[in-house]
Symmetry: C3
Subunit: 138 residues, 3 copies
């Protein structure tokens, strides 16, 4: 049993979802571990990690649904603290969560055929994001 | 430290929540491991894993709350891609997430007395689902 | 590779978010493990674990957003089962989820600068909560 730790960087845009499956699969492969788990983590409070069928329609549908819960253009108490504009970004990140754990077997992530791992950018400006992958296994 | 990997299959229905606690507990037991974690994973983009107090009232309350975020009967961009009708199913799955990690001690999951592990089916037809459990521990 | 298991207790209030980062960091430190993951788990069906930038504004913004999904003052089927009043608490807990997994490297959690681990109390009365931390690593 071993721990294998890597980062990767991606460029993101507001309310975008970014397919990071290949980054995670490559790190599992590089780890040489056969069976275990890959923990994918966003070290930041305005992004999140989940899975989705990565096709253009859902890249609009998911942000639209989240907009209902934490809309733009309304007052957030967060803005009073920092005089910024990304209260909704923080709310969405807390709801989705920064962490995803995916099992792998025989060096292969057990994702469904139409299921991709995504980084969800909620911040109000373009970002370059660092994503952490911690692999544990045999 | 070892990794122990198993699947199980369940039959599901639209917007149903299915108590899978016993499946997960049995796999932990079968692993012979004493202390560790059980990762429960849905390999698919229209289901999710969480916990709930498994009683008939909440089996209606939780789907009703999710219906507000991703209602039936409205247009989803996803439908234009595939000409299907399950855009809302995908949105709910991404929000809840496909993965849950539960610690165990002395071979017993550390769940609360009124807390069960559930598979949440969001797809618009009956399904037979495969659920993956990855156990890591000593 | 080893498993290290600890609990801690906190006093909570309805719709409060409680910064538990130091508890988790101390347990990782006590484990003497260098690299691995900390699984933070709420054994109960009316609380949840996530991360947030822990500042006074968001402590209001996040509960307000969740109130839209599962408002107070409406009927929940859950109340018919138990004749209590915390249907909304259960719904919010299932949405956020009871589990968070945070990687650590060189004994340090890989959190962002403005990112804290929080226990989210959704129950309708003050509680004393037990939180479980399972550390796996080398």
């Amino acid at each position: 049993m071993a721990v294998f730790s890597r980062d990767f960087r991606i460029k993101t845009e507001t309310d975008g979802m970014f397919d990071i499956t290949e980054y995670v699969a490559d790190i599992v492969s590089e780890s040489k571990l056969k069976d275990g788990i890959a923990v994918v983590f966003c070290p930041g409070s305005t992004g999140a990690i989940s899975t989705v069928e990565f096709e253009p329609g859902l890249l609009k549908d998911v942000p639209r649904a989240l907009e209902k819960i934490a809309p733009a253009g309304v007052d957030y108490e967060h803005h009073k603290t920092w005089h910024d504009d990304n209260g909704r970004s923080h709310v969405k990140s807390t709801l989705i969560g920064p962490s995803l754990t995916v099992p792998f077997r025989s060096k292969k992530l057990v994702l469904g055929t139409w299921q991709q791992i995504v980084f969800m950018e909620f911040d109000t400006s373009q970002r370059e994001r660092n994503v952490v992958v911690q692999v544990l296994g045999d």
